[in-house]
C-alpha cells in the first residue's frame, strides 16, 4: 500500500478518513451522522490551518475536498488533533431576507396537490421557514439548502425542464435550493426571487455564504418585474 492511501485522523473532535481525490486534492470524509454545522466549522478550520497553501475547498454533506500543493501527509499533520474554539468559528447568526414572487412558481399547484393543501397554505408554510445554505454545487452558485417543512416535500419532475430561470426557488424531495443561473433542471419551482444571489462580477460572488440562513418575504408580480437590487 502506498503511503498516500487512506488514513484516519481526528480533527475538530470528529474522526475523518483522508484519501486522494486527485494529485493535488485530499478528500476528508466523516460519518454520515455528522451534523452539517460541524462540516462548516471544519471547513473554516481547514482554511485557517492550510492558509496560503490552500488553492480551493469543496465542502459537501459529509466531506471536505482540500485543494493544495501540499502532500496529504502534511495536510494531515496540520489538521490531526486540531480543535475548533467557539471564537475561531465564523459567526453565522445572520438571517438574510430574500424577496420571493410566488406568481413565478411554475410548480406551485403541483406542490399544493402533493401536500394536500391549497396554494395559499403552501405559500404561508413556505414563508414560515428559515432555510440554510448547506453547500454549493451543480452549477455556479446553485445553493443546496435545508429547512424545508416536510409537508412541502415533492418528488422531482419526471421530465426535467430545459430552462429554469435564474432566481427560481426549487424543491426536490425534501431538498430545497435556489437556481443561481438559468439552467436545465428537474426541481419543482415554487417561486422566484429577483435578488441576484450569484454575481460573477464580484470576487465573492455568493450573496449567501455556506452556513448562512435565509428567509423569504412575499412580493407581488408587479414588484418582481420592476425589482432593482
Amino acid at each position: 500500500m502506498s503511503t498516500k492511501e487512506s488514513k484516519s485522523l481526528l480533527f475538530n473532535s470528529i474522526s475523518w478518513r483522508a484519501s486522494l481525490l486527485g494529485e493535488e486534492v485530499a478528500l476528508l470524509e466523516c460519518g454520515k451522522g455528522t451534523p452539517i454545522e460541524k462540516i462548516h466549522e471544519s471547513t473554516y478550520l481547514v482554511e485557517q490551518a492550510i492558509g496560503g497553501d490552500l488553492i480551493d475547498l469543496v465542502p459537501a454533506y459529509h466531506s471536505i475536498a482540500v485543494f493544495s500543493k501540499l502532500d496529504m501527509g502534511e495536510i494531515i499533520k496540520r489538521l490531526d488533533g486540531l480543535k475548533g474554539s467557539a471564537k475561531q468559528i465564523r459567526d453565522n447568526d445572520d438571517v438574510i431576507e430574500l424577496p420571493i414572487c410566488y406568481e413565478e412558481g411554475l410548480d406551485l399547484s403541483r406542490v399544493a396537490e402533493q401536500s394536500g393543501m391549497n396554494e395559499d397554505q403552501v405559500i404561508e408554510r413556505h414563508l414560515e421557514g428559515t432555510y440554510r445554505s448547506l453547500f454549493i454545487g451543480f452549477t455556479p452558485g446553485f445553493i443546496y439548502a435545508d429547512g424545508l417543512h416536510e409537508s412541502l416535500a415533492c418528488p422531482r419532475l419526471e421530465q426535467p425542464r430545459t430552462r429554469i430561470p435564474s432566481g427560481s426557488v426549487g424543491i426536490a424531495g425534501e431538498q430545497t435550493g435556489i437556481y443561481s443561473l438559468a439552467s436545465p433542471g428537474g426541481w419543482n419551482i415554487i417561486g422566484r426571487t429577483p435578488t441576484k444571489i450569484f454575481d460573477p462580477t464580484k470576487d465573492q460572488p455568493m450573496l449567501i455564504d455556506v452556513g448562512t440562513r435565509y428567509r423569504f418575504y412575499r412580493i407581488t408580480k408587479k414588484a418582481f418585474e420592476s425589482w432593482e437590487d
Partner: protein, 278 residues
Amino acid sequence: MGRLSVIKTGPIATVQDFGRFGYRRYGIPQSGAMDRQMMIAANQFVGNPENFPVIEFALMGIELEALEETVISVVGASLKVNGQVKGKCEKVSVGDKVSVSSPMFVYGYLGMGGSIQAKEDFGSVSTYERAGFGGMDGRRLQTGDVLVSNGEGEISVQVDIPTRENAELVTIRIMKGPEWNLLKELPSFESFQVDGSSDRMGIRLTGARLACDYQEIASSAVIPGTIQLPADGQPIILMNDCQTTGGYPRIGKVFVEDLGRLAQMKPGKKVRMVRVEN
C-alpha cells in the same frame, strides 16, 4: 497587435486558457483547454507564454481573414494560407485567407502571437457557456467575430508537439478513487469504447460493464479526471467543464498527464484504464 476576422466556424470553437482555479467552492468549474499539452504547443509556436488564451475547435475547422499582420499557429489540424499548405506557424498579412482544417483527432488549437482579448471571469478567459463565463461574451465563436491579440508574437520552430495516438486501443493511467473498494474487478480487465455523447463535461465509456457493489454516495467533490461509476457499470470520466460535486461512486482518477490523450480519442476508439502507484 494581431487581428483576424472569423469568416466561417464549426459548431464548437471557444477561447480557452488553463482554466479557473480556486472557485470550485462556488460551484464554478475549471474549464480550460481539453488537451493542455497541445494548447501549450500552439502558444510556443507563436512565442507566447504557455498559459495564453487559444482557440479550441472540435469537429470542424475555421476560416479566417487577416485584418492586420498576425503571427498564428495551428496544432492538431493543418493550415493553409491563400490555398497554400503551410507548416504549424505562419505570419499572415492583411487580406490573407486563413484556412484551418478540421482536427486530426478531436480538438485542435489556433494560437495568435500576443494575448487573445476575451472576457475574463474568475481569473480566466476560458469559455464556460453554461454560465456565460469568459471567451467571446461567454459563447462559442461565430461568423463576424474579430479575434484581437495585444502583442506581436514571433515564429518559433523548436516546439515539441505532443504525440496523440490514432491506435484502436489506448491505455490510460489511473489512480484509486475514494470508492475504489466498491469495485469487484480491476478496471484494466475490460476495455471500453468512447461514446459519441462525450463532450467538454465528460467522456462516457460504453461497451463493457464494471462489476461493482453499487451504492449512491451523498453528493461530494469531483474534479476533472474523476472516474464515476453509475449503476449501469459504464464509467464516465469527468472532464474540464464538469460539475463540482456528484453522487456516483468515484472509483478512480485519470492522471493529469493523460487527460489530453484521453480527450483526443475519437468516439468508437477503445480505452483501457490501468492503475499505477501514485
